[in-house]
Amino acid sequence: MRETSNIESPVNAASLGVRRSAFGVWRFLWRTLDFIVAGIFVYAGALKVLDPVQFAHDIKNFQILPWPISVALAFYQPWLEIFCGVGLVFRFFYRGALCILSALIVVFTLAIIAAKVRGLDITCGCFGHASQHWSFPAHLATNVAILALLALLFKAGEQRRRTD
């Protein structure tokens, strides 16, 4: 009896193998998603690091923050995006990075909505010159999509923590 129910039986071993390979595929997919999200933020951060003067003006145009704070943010925020992106790639402070990036995206989205409500015709500066001619719906859709990806990664990360 004991021998037939043994987990090492050929049938059980095969199903374990299938489960392991499915788990491997999922892991690969999550890692790919990590790289995609990280790439978006590292790219966006790098564009802004190269032209902090323009980014400071982009922040100022939202008419929410005074000029000195816009300048400070123009220097600081791109590096925060880059560090968090690198954190996702190397799984270095992974959950902290996801948390910061989600908070940033929420703040950007609120700022874009506030600008639209006040009738400001401005560029968000999110991706430097690349996002200069984006429409309001395009900005919003991009931010919501990125936020959804971050939420997925957070959920997958929590599951992985529990299984590990």
């Binding site: 000029w67 220097f75 600081y76 959950r95 990075a97 948390c99």
Partner: protein, 142 residues
């Protein structure tokens, strides 16, 4: 490294400060913390007056404010009627002349925007923004 979520976020936030400070030092000559306009593109009322006849004053405020009062001899060039007013400015301008653009006060952005458009779109060199704008002019002249 097993740290709580808040600690992880704080470490990342702190790490980002170092390159940001380095970049701020590197760009210190290209951006002013006090004003959106770099010091090299700004002139005070006294400096502008010292230019004498070699200067064209450009008023970037809306039409009604220009009609109320303006710097003697200033040309109106605002964003509402840019295409209409630009030929008038170009007719008055000649190479070698300095251009001083102003709007209502230190906090307004119209002069900076007009100055940038003159440099980029009209290819006019030596365009400066008046420090303190029309308010500063009034203080010095009344």
């Amino acid at each position: 490294m097993k740290l709580s979520l808040t600690r992880q976020a704080l470490v990342l936030a702190a790490l980002s400060l170092f390159p940001a400070m380095g970049e701020a030092i590197y760009f210190r000559g290209k951006i002013s913390w006090r004003s959106p306009i770099p010091p090299s593109e700004m002139v005070s009322v006294d400096q502008a007056r010292a230019l004498g006849g070699n200067v064209i004053w450009v008023d970037a405020r809306p039409d009604e404010e220009f009609a109320r009062d303006h710097v003697p001899g200033a040309l109106s060039l605002n964003e509402d009627r840019w295409n209409e007013l630009l030929p008038q400015f170009l007719a008055a301008w000649s190479p070698g002349k300095k251009v001083v653009v102003y709007c209502s006060a230190e906090s307004c952005d119209l002069a900076r925007e007009a100055a940038e458009r003159l440099r980029k779109e009209a290819q006019v060199p030596d365009v400066f923004v008046l420090e303190g704008g029309w308010e500063a002019w009034l203080k010095k002249n009344r």
